[in-house]
Symmetry: D2
Subunit: 314 residues, 4 copies
Amino acid sequence: MGVMRIGHASIRVMDMAASLKHYENVIGMKTVHTDADGNVYLKCWDEWDKYSIILTLADQAGMNHVAYKVEKDADLDSFKERVEAYGIATEMLPEGAMPFVGRILKFNLPSSHEFRLYAKKECVGTDVGSTNPDPWPDDKKGAGAHWLDHTLLMCTLDPPNGVNHVADNCKFMTEVLDFHLGEQAMVGPDANIQAAAFMFRTSTPHDIAFVGGPRPGMHHVSFFLDSWHDILKAGDIMAKNKVRIDVAPTRHGITRGETIYFFDPSGNRNETFAGLGYMAQPDRPVITWTEDTIGRGIFYHTGVLPESFTGVYT
Amino acid sequence: MGVMRIGHASIRVMDMAASLKHYENVIGMKTVHTDADGNVYLKCWDEWDKYSIILTLADQAGMNHVAYKVEKDADLDSFKERVEAYGIATEMLPEGAMPFVGRILKFNLPSSHEFRLYAKKECVGTDVGSTNPDPWPDDKKGAGAHWLDHTLLMCTLDPPNGVNHVADNCKFMTEVLDFHLGEQAMVGPDANIQAAAFMFRTSTPHDIAFVGGPRPGMHHVSFFLDSWHDILKAGDIMAKNKVRIDVAPTRHGITRGETIYFFDPSGNRNETFAGLGYMAQPDRPVITWTEDTIGRGIFYHTGVLPESFTGVYT
Amino acid sequence: MGVMRIGHASIRVMDMAASLKHYENVIGMKTVHTDADGNVYLKCWDEWDKYSIILTLADQAGMNHVAYKVEKDADLDSFKERVEAYGIATEMLPEGAMPFVGRILKFNLPSSHEFRLYAKKECVGTDVGSTNPDPWPDDKKGAGAHWLDHTLLMCTLDPPNGVNHVADNCKFMTEVLDFHLGEQAMVGPDANIQAAAFMFRTSTPHDIAFVGGPRPGMHHVSFFLDSWHDILKAGDIMAKNKVRIDVAPTRHGITRGETIYFFDPSGNRNETFAGLGYMAQPDRPVITWTEDTIGRGIFYHTGVLPESFTGVYT
Amino acid sequence: MGVMRIGHASIRVMDMAASLKHYENVIGMKTVHTDADGNVYLKCWDEWDKYSIILTLADQAGMNHVAYKVEKDADLDSFKERVEAYGIATEMLPEGAMPFVGRILKFNLPSSHEFRLYAKKECVGTDVGSTNPDPWPDDKKGAGAHWLDHTLLMCTLDPPNGVNHVADNCKFMTEVLDFHLGEQAMVGPDANIQAAAFMFRTSTPHDIAFVGGPRPGMHHVSFFLDSWHDILKAGDIMAKNKVRIDVAPTRHGITRGETIYFFDPSGNRNETFAGLGYMAQPDRPVITWTEDTIGRGIFYHTGVLPESFTGVYT
């Protein structure tokens, strides 16, 4: 099978106490581990592996790396070969390099983002267990996010200089990591510049996304909610916690998902994302958004893409 | 990748006009083809392949066969070998044996149900298209089902005589077709009789399910809806169309899905099923329902399993 | 203005501890007072008066009385005159006869149910307060019912003997208490027997309802929820608390409301009811349900009225 | 009873064809009448009186008048006396002055807005009828608005010059028309300037609202939807119709309502508003929003009040 899904994201924050309050009380995660360096590991209630977010103290917000889980340990060796054959250097971190995690294959995407693959992480079970489980736990908190769903990475897009790291990443993810392209935005006078790519390995519309911008960075990490109603409740929770909201509840054209964008206390953009949207499949026709309609692709209702949305990221 | 998802179900009906009215006006499908024998082919708006339901006129309701789509044509050859190696006879139907479909690998599950695999079906696109698509089509009808989601097959379970076709199917699907077991019900004094198995290939909680009963048959075919709200609207649509409802809106414990069970005019059970439920993954711990809690597994709210629910099927 | 809305219901229970657990953990009320006789008074979070449910220990379940609040203390005197002029005896209980309540006008409806009117009850405010209130309180529990919404009283209906306490109550409520008839069911060969009446004083579809049966009793007390989604969550809460559910989530034809019927531990039927339904107004045409369609009036989806639904009450 | 509810609003539009397309295809109204002057009358499916919106062609957008319905024809005489006793001139228009409407009492609010009361308008029934009605009609269109719900009028607020037409209107509506104040915003260094007032006659949180600004005008007319889910669908409908959206789906702190603000083709602001919010009652404690929290009162999630929201109106 190869890559199964997103495994975790390592996020830089500037105030650990405020950040914990945010990821625990707003997103609804639980702290499961703190390492010797003070990095804090958190887990959503519906995840069965040990953690999906690592918060590290830093002078500047952003993402250290994002990691995806592969099905078998041997997949790491095969991906190592394929990544290197593609011309990208790799490093195999030994078991224990990250707590509760087996071997890690580490490399940089063409866009420069650090990317990791691993096959083993301690399985602790979801908060409802595996025997006669309730559909949700009694102690669900905050927005009650089910799981870390995907990340959107900003990639350098500089057509005049022939630089398109969106397209470069898309090619790499397709050819080497067997991701499928679900949706893309094509811009430029000839509509031949891939300015955004939404890619999947699960049957959900995106497990990772790349959007073009002036420099590489993290646009957002996204957490899954069940329904549009839970989006409303999440907005209420954000209001109660005085969270800075970027874009109020609306629907995406791309993925059809229901969404709120907001910021953690360090300025890292988060998303609560709801709904299956559609059944992503290798043979589903790739959706293309044209330049005049990208606003509606991002925010379907207004069709307006606020400048801050593509300009502000960490 | 192998098997991707459910492709179509061929259903026996006793009154074609009434059946078409049902699948079109209630489920919300469109008729896309009628063949020389009078079989009618229908498609949901969010499916991109030509059809997912075939209605054939018969004296008795039930399912002729269910078919799953594999990723590559060559997968059919490899599955042929694996199925035969397992000791099950196969037949390879040539392209065109079914309209708009390529080669078909045909065989019977251990439970005796006819099962088909195919790699190619004419791709006609979803009703919203692939360029700047709206999230739903203007002419959505009835319950507006997105797609045929899964089927539940009743399998002979006769422990005193050592017959358990649920377990037999589960083993076959796992070992030969690479399905994953998501949830199961274990019954009997030693809780070692697998009386139900819910299996997946996509990331949704089930793409096929097997439940034990006195004889083989079709329990239901299920159609996907977005949300609990759409379940309410589907119930309203059923009321307006005087559809016979089996079980009013409720939640499943198993899969967490939101559901209505109802009957087509020939007595074939249908389901509208909403919600992703959870992210099904090969490494997600298998959920087990114990005998005392199966009622709540099926119908979470009441915890009561009406006798008719397991006794009546086609 | 006269009568404003339902004020409280006094309910007989046979196990106080189990009942408190039910009304607190399932309905989501808070205990606000226990009197010297051990009667317990509870309040919903969105009510501003001191209490809306009184639980009294008894050998048998049922309702002691239901009370409605009038706008002005002087209204009590005017209603006393009107009720007595109608030929019904009244009693004016002095302030303090019930804790935190002013004068009470007490009498029996034509159906024999004890009915009370009062103008004053200690106002303690909603749980979100009156200054910059959040839309819901942080400590919302269980189903999080907003308020006691209405009651449905079973009234003797015995047409062969010329007894129709539904019609008698309807006439009394209209002529004396200025209630408006919103919906009714008309049965019998000439469709001239009023077998059910849904009446309002607020702009919601019903503040009290009367349904015909073999003897007087309480069919249910109903608690308001916001939405169909909250109905799903309420069903989940009931499942977690092993509440006996009478009718799983569905929609009423009458009132259009979304509903679950269930029982408190003593067998008193409760309802969670969601949605405004429609704007009830004095000039809105009265809705009539005919005998052949009453099933759909009660349970719109299935159209089936379980015998237990009209046969079992306290 | 006196005033029952909002009856209709007469709106100025600059392009009748575009406006009709908007109110029919987006709001979901039906045209029921066109008079000799070309004014067009429209009705929502869940209203039983003949019309609730009148579109008149003009050079400039805005509201001609808003009208509320009283219970009895004689109420008009009594209100005429009370309004004149308050020092406001009135005019009694004869039956037929407006099509399908009886006598009309016409006067200006202290804020200068033209206000009308009437007791009779031809009753044509809702689109689902009064006998065994479905909960919604088969031909529901667009957002499927149930009814014209309320209007918000901008009133001159100029504290340095001692002008506060919000407070003036609030006093008049309370003392003369028996409206109740549900919520208010108090601003200024002493928090004694009533900058907004939300008033009701039905049991819904507001039937009319007044907000202070530089000049009198119409801020919006609002249409009722059932639920947060219908708000999502309304947003989708607006996207499909390229409607200019002012504020994407969110929740109000004031009234707790779920909302989208958007513009008709002439720039008149519309709202789709969902949910009962809470039970408005004469004895419910008045809610007060303080100046620092008004943003959250208007848009609860972000807490941000866009300048355009109070600055732009017709």
